[in-house]
Symmetry: C2
Amino acid sequence: MHETPRADRTPPGFVGGTLDRVDHVRTNPALLAEAFADSSARRLVLDGLDPVEADGHLLLEPINRQALLADHVLLGVDPEQRPIFVRLAGDLGGNLGPTPRSRGIAGLIPAEEVALYGTARSLVHWHARHRFCAVCGAATQPVKAGWSRRCDACAAEHFPRTDPVVIMLAQHHGRVLLGRQHGWPQGRYSALAGFVEPGETIEEAVARETFEEAGVRVRAVRYVMSQPWPFPSSLMIACLAEAEDDALRLDPTEIEAAFWCDADGVRAALAGDPDAPFLAPPPMAVAWHLLDHWLGEVVTADASA
Amino acid sequence: MHETPRADRTPPGFVGGTLDRVDHVRTNPALLAEAFADSSARRLVLDGLDPVEADGHLLLEPINRQALLADHVLLGVDPEQRPIFVRLAGDLGGNLGPTPRSRGIAGLIPAEEVALYGTARSLVHWHARHRFCAVCGAATQPVKAGWSRRCDACAAEHFPRTDPVVIMLAQHHGRVLLGRQHGWPQGRYSALAGFVEPGETIEEAVARETFEEAGVRVRAVRYVMSQPWPFPSSLMIACLAEAEDDALRLDPTEIEAAFWCDADGVRAALAGDPDAPFLAPPPMAVAWHLLDHWLGEVVTADASA
């Protein structure tokens, strides 16, 4: 039996932001200045790219009078009508990847604050890594409340990147294909994944990546859900697909090992059973929810069979 | 009645590429050199960013001995096992947007060649607009068969962009919301659309954009299909959603006009009826297929009612 009703589950991490992004304010200098000067305005405190938690919430601080609007991104207006900003980072140094603190924040604060942190992290990272114009090499400046950068030398405008990534479970006769990458925690397996490339659909990317990584041909790709993933700025697009057969031919540069897991094994792994055939990804990852969704479909199919 | 069975429809433009992208060759210098030297290898001819058509096909030419591998992108291997390359452009000048020739190619050549052109256009455009390192401003060089650029000064690696865009029909009591942007052909209306931003899901982006552009709140967003759109490099993610009510409040900077259209009106527009209430987007656009999909759902619902 699949025990917890799926609607009761919390969403994957970084999903469910409650800020109004007030797009019209970004391009209106008067409204933007007003928001920045608002005594209720708050600045999200980051430590480099890491979140700072206090009493079960993200740390927000008042914005002092000396602060420069040009150094800030307007993230939006929160449900209490407070404009929420984040300050652009100076030099972030070399460590721009996920840390235990950034990965662990989902368990410490409400879901909507995890989403706020994710948005802020992606934008601060993007600005730090896009100080120069890719067209001409000149320095660029943030504009539009930090939602774009402009090159004064060649007039090019640059927008934050969001990289679509497909993450998928191929299924075959009641089992799903799980793989592990080099360097993952011992026993961890998850859905396969890869970046969508220019010139392909989501469905084509799922088929290409599954074949490249595991040698498995799939058809009938179905979209399940999506998740923003701020390391640094991906859009995870979770799908199911039907495998044509279960023979594996792994790409050893991408995948260290892979296997087909049945519903009992997936159920045990999601429940955290130490005897499960693999260590599941954490619930903040969309892969956990994709596995859970698949399990729900299998149970429904069994019940109607 | 909805007359043409939907499975018989050709896909949207740029969908359905048949090249094997041979990811493993990109990072293997020996295999890559072999592919480039292969007497069957062909180079896709572009005129700036425009396609060149000859006898109902894209023009492909042999690669001469003087050509430099470093100036080329390996697009993949075609079903006849020919490696297909495209040459990176020198200065493309100012006109980097879609042209009548690039938009019109879908009617002149097979669908898989339209997809090949789309991939090539996105990559050639990306290289032309990313000659410099966004991190440090130094010049970058193409690596990995043109699927990445590397900065020798700071060692940053840059990958081609693919920008996810949501395009959606909000439906309300048997009608869908259509809008027109400034400068579109007279009478043209289509689905609303906008870029997915960092920190949001596909579903959240659909809700935000529909509210920003038209003042309409939606729920129950459903993914329908996707399409690569090479102007310059978007991933169009087509969705349906349920509108909470039909009152409109347009953002005049984004939308010139909008209205709710019923199934008869959509059917007439897709059929090209001159008396239709709007001029439909062309069948190469995913919006045409989204409207067609919606019509199919409405007919199915009517038939089962």
